[in-house]
């Protein structure tokens, strides 16, 4: 992978993480609870998922797809069963699943000795996602919120050819 492409992959990965994290927060808070405890639980789930992903080897493709599927399930559940008590639990699980690759991605970068600039470019993408996701939600609703991680996921699979090689290789 060229250096330029590696930067692009890191940025799209950051955008993908923001789409999952911010998107899940908005989905849960819209039809469940906006209490601080909800925010804290979701934040802890993301950070916890990231920690697990850092230390436990997970197949990259499975981690990315698992995170996206969990998110899509969460958004669908907010439409099918708004105000359900299960929404909070599902939200925590989905956010935790999304966080797995947030850890796995950095371990994989380290394994490839490609840590130079990885935090910078991932964070730049995250900043973009931090703004883009609420705008997508506000103007496109939960449909657009659900579409965003699908788009970033497909972009990642196209941009990062190593996903094909890594299909069964742990991060």
């Amino acid at each position: 992978m060229t250096e330029q492409r590696a930067r692009l992959v890191a940025s799209v990965t950051g955008l993908h993480f923001a789409a999952l994290q911010v998107g899940a927060f908005l989905a849960v808070e819209s039809v469940s609870s906006s209490a601080w405890s909800t925010y804290a639980a979701l934040s802890a789930a993301w950070l916890g998922g990231t920690l697990v992903g850092l230390w436990v080897a997970v197949p990259p493709r499975a981690a990315v797809i698992g995170g996206v599927l969990a998110f899509e399930g969460l958004v669908a559940f907010t439409q099918l069963a708004p105000w359900s008590r299960g929404l909070f639990v599902l939200g925590v699980a989905a956010v935790g699943a999304g966080g797995l690759w947030a850890g796995g991605f950095f371990t994989r970068a380290a394994r490839r000795r490609a840590t130079e600039g990885v935090f910078l470019h991932e964070n730049n993408g995250f900043v973009l996602g931090l703004v883009a996701t609420p705008f997508a939600f506000a103007f496109g609703g939960r449909t657009t919120l659900a579409a965003l991680p699908l788009v970033t996921c497909l972009a990642l699979f196209r941009l990062d050819e190593t996903f094909k090689l890594d299909r069964s290789t742990p991060a």
Binding site: A44, W55, N123, G141
Partner: protein
């Protein structure tokens, strides 16, 4: 002074043992993570309050703070070139934290006083964010680079920072609800420890000594800076901030602007002022309660508790659900002294209104939704069709929900009053809209089948209201036919309205209430 590279990891500890170096590096990063969490939450409150707290401002501020972290990541590999200057810059960055919260408030006030209302406050916010966040975020990439095994370096270093960040979030939560000096004490302590671990005891002393000197006078200086902000940015000539406490949700401030002129501000946005409060309460709750004679009433919001006394005499049971305990504290102290409340059939629940309604099995004859206008997503969720469907499920067959419409009349179909009313009509078709001249606000009363008609409302309206407009259900439906009901999937209004207000303020000299 030890060098950052020794502790944050560029050479894996030739003078100290490998294990000791790793432990120290992990401790530095854990503390840096905690400091990043506290600084981020502190900075969000300061910048959002200074720039007014609409959703679009919150987004801009959060994005700016994360962009500031990118600045630190960009600087990290270049630090080696800066050598001693880099270490001095790092300590200087930590020292800049000691200007919190006074510097941002004074700087916003100064800009407004000098009519620099265009992009200058936004540029200032970017500068403050970089100064506060960038130094701390230089540590992680340098620590990772310091390990011979990059995977181990990544796991240990990033893991330590994440654990610290979680710890910081938890500790910050404990500090909310107290004066800002408590959170500042946490932030400064963490910074001093980070500086000490990263650069040695001298750096710790350089940060800790002035911090210890500045801290005792902090509450008074913070209050004076806040008052200056309200004077110059909000145009309140005699502004005196008598209460300022950060909650997990927002900054809650009570501001006096001369005798009898007391206001409640949430994240820099005026929530209510004491002069308007009585009339707002009259139409939002007292008028529908007089007309409906409810046995059970639920009030969502109204943290000032100003509705408790008037409603308790009109309803057998009264329940208030308020999410923010700090608003309740401010309300009890400054807006609704508690005399006599203990004797009323009244209950207070600290919870999110949505969450409470979803869990409760109780039904109510009157639900009063006393929440701010939809300028943030959290507020807007309480004006959506989905929320009103939930409200409907907790109303008795002839139960009524009362809502203030965030405007003085129904107005154009794309604006908040029409969109909120359309959302109400979609779930509870029998709707009356009241446009009050004296309250300068429009209100809606909605039900499956309202227990009162327009004439009943006129009969119980305040005598001082001489030109009350009451729109019946048919007229309301006709007037909102083209309005899209506000729902969870169409909240563009929140960002559009925020942007309009932001642009108006930038063009009109700052005061934007």
């Amino acid at each position: 002074m030890a060098s950052i590279s020794e502790t944050a990891g560029e050479t894996a500890g030739e003078t100290v043992g490998e294990t000791a170096w790793r432990v120290r590096s992990a401790a530095t990063l854990a503390l840096a993570g905690a400091a990043l969490a506290t600084t981020q939450l502190l900075a969000v409150r300061e910048l959002v309050s200074g720039l007014f707290g609409e959703e679009v401002v919150i987004l801009l501020v959060n994005a700016t703070l994360f962009a500031a972290i990118s600045c630190g990541y960009w600087l990290a590999p270049r630090m080696r070139r800066f050598g001693r200057a880099g270490e001095i810059a790092f300590v200087a960055g930590c020292l800049l934290h000691l200007s919190l919260p006074v510097l941002p408030r004074r700087a916003f006030a100064w800009l407004a006083a000098h009519r620099w209302s265009g992009a200058a406050p936004l540029v200032l916010a970017v500068g403050i964010a970089i100064a506060l966040m960038a130094p701390l975020s230089t540590l992680l990439p340098r620590a990772v680079a310091g390990y011979a095994d990059p995977v181990e370096g990544m796991r240990r270093s990033y893991g330590a920072e994440l654990v610290g960040f979680m710890l910081g979030l938890g500790l910050t939560q404990l500090c909310f609800g107290h004066g800002i000096e408590v959170l500042i004490a946490l932030d400064w302590s963490l910074l001093a420890l980070v500086a000490g671990l990263a650069l040695g005891p001298r750096a710790l002393a350089i940060v800790a000594f002035p911090a210890a000197l500045l801290w005792p006078s902090l509450p008074e200086r913070a209050r004076a800076a806040s008052s200056a902000l309200y004077r110059d940015v909000h145009g309140m000539r005699s502004a005196n901030v008598v209460f300022s406490v950060d909650s997990p949700y927002q900054r809650v401030e009570v501001v006096d602007d001369g005798p009898g002129r007391r206001s409640l501000y949430l994240d820099g946005l005026e929530n209510l002022n004491a002069n308007d409060l009585a009339l707002l309460n009259e139409y939002l709750a007292v008028v529908p309660a007089r007309a409906a004679r409810p046995a059970s009433t639920l009030v969502i919001g109204n943290g000032t508790l100003s509705l408790v006394a008037p409603l308790a005499t009109l309803s057998d049971d009264l329940l208030t659900v308020e999410i923010d305990p700090v608003v309740v504290a401010a309300g009890e102290r400054f807006f609704s002294p508690s005399a006599g409340r203990a004797n009323l059939a009244w209950e207070l629940v600290e919870d999110d209104g949505k969450s409470f309604l979803a869990r409760t099995s109780r039904s109510f004859d009157l639900i009063v939704v006393d929440v701010p206008s939809p300028l943030t997503f959290q507020e807007a969720f309480l004006h959506t069709r989905e929320f009103y469907a939930l409200v409907r499920s907790r109303l008795t067959p002839r139960g009524v929900v009362s809502v203030q419409l965030s405007g003085h009349r129904l107005g154009a179909s794309g604006r908040s009053p029409s969109r909120v009313t359309a959302a109400l009509v979609a779930e509870l078709p029998d709707v009356l809209v009241v446009e009050s001249q004296i309250a300068d606000r429009a209100f809606a009363y909605a039900s499956r089948a309202l227990p009162f008609r327009a004439n009943d409302i006129r009969a119980v309206a305040p005598p001082s209201e001489t030109r009350l407009v009451v729109l019946d259900a048919e007229t309301v439906r006709a007037r909102t036919r083209d309005a899209k009901p506000l729902d969870v999937d169409s909240l563009g209004l929140v960002l559009r309205r925020g942007l309009e207000r932001l642009v108006d303020r930038r063009g009109s000299g700052g005061a934007g209430d």
